[in-house]
């Protein structure tokens, strides 16, 4: 039922865009699996993380710390810190996720990419379709990538070679740009960026992005009529 209505709602262009991001995520998954196993961890570690945590940045951080001989508890805390932004995402897209039982898989499938895809759509039906198609597609591609990368070993260990490290910020940028045309949102976002960049040298991963929320102090939501007359 759900799947059928997703595919009926999704237009072809959007489906292609989502497919591209899923594919790119699969390649990053390949490298994550390969790096983890290459770093001396058994295959089940990256694979289990991908299934039950399913949050790329925190997974890279977790295996990086553990493979370097760090404490798994420290790795867990670092991972949680990076994932705190999902609280704000969940508050913003709860209508998109839906109600009842859907909130369970819908929450687990929450990623930066499908949240950004959902925000980029105009009406609720399209938002829902983009969120679910993106979430399911990324989950499948990511997990397949991790298993293959971990099992095959050193096929791809450095996605920088393909420029994927530049592709992902560009993906998110393209998806948030329409929302940044709103002046109040743009002001808050730009001030948030300054905050985040200023503290990046000093704070552990995850916190700088969270501190960008201070930019909301400068958010003056529109009385649209007044905005237009200015």
């Amino acid at each position: 039922m759900l799947m059928r209505s997703i595919w009926r709602t999704l237009d072809r262009g959007l489906a292609r865009d989502i497919g591209l991001v899923c594919l790119a995520d699969g390649v990053v998954g390949l490298s994550y699996g390969a790096i983890s196993v290459g770093g001396g961890l058994p295959l089940w570690v990256p694979v289990l993380l991908s299934l039950v945590v399913f949050a790329g940045a925190s997974q890279f951080l977790f295996v990086g710390i553990v493979a370097a001989g760090g404490s798994p508890i420290a790795a867990m805390i670092a991972g949680l810190l990076v994932n705190t932004r999902h609280v704000a995402f969940g508050l913003a897209v709860s209508d998109v996720i839906g109600s009842g039982w859907r909130r369970l898989p819908g929450s687990h499938l929450m990623t930066d990419e499908n949240v950004a895809f959902a925000i980029g759509q105009d009406d609720l039906r399209q938002k829902r379709a983009a969120y679910w198609a993106g979430g399911i597609g990324i989950f499948v591609c990511w997990n397949i990538g991790v298993v293959v990368g971990g099992a095959a070993g050193s096929v791809i260990t450095d996605t920088d070679v393909f420029g994927l490290d530049a592709a992902f910020p560009a993906v998110l940028l393209a998806l948030v740009l329409p929302a940044l045309r709103d002046r109040a949102t743009r002001t808050a976002a730009l001030i948030g960026v300054v905050f985040a960049l200023a503290v990046t040298p000093f704070l552990p991963a995850g916190l700088p992005v969270l501190l960008a929320l201070a930019g909301l102090l400068f958010y003056r939501a529109g009385k649209p009529a007044l905005e237009v007359s200015q």
Partner: protein, 107 residues
Amino acid sequence: MTNTPLVLAGILILAVGTFSLRFAGPVMRSRFELPERAQQVLAAAAIVLLTALVATSALTDGHGPAGVARPAGVLVGGVLAWRKAPFVLVVVAAAATATGLRLIGVP
């Protein structure tokens, strides 16, 4: 050697914690009816976070700067997106710019 029970515990706690963080938003929103003003702020919060994520992942690597190739790639992608180029072109151009610059020795 990895301490299997401890690694497993770390993964499972991270999984439960991450799910709770994701689930918190939908649960809170189903309990209270929010005024429109608050909903606007929440929507803006997601944009602020995603924009900060773009900036930090484009410009920084760990605690230091990310070099030149990656920011240049993101910039090319961003300009194309701003000019309303197709999404596929934005992504491919960003990746190709970064790769191309690295091939000619730009860090």
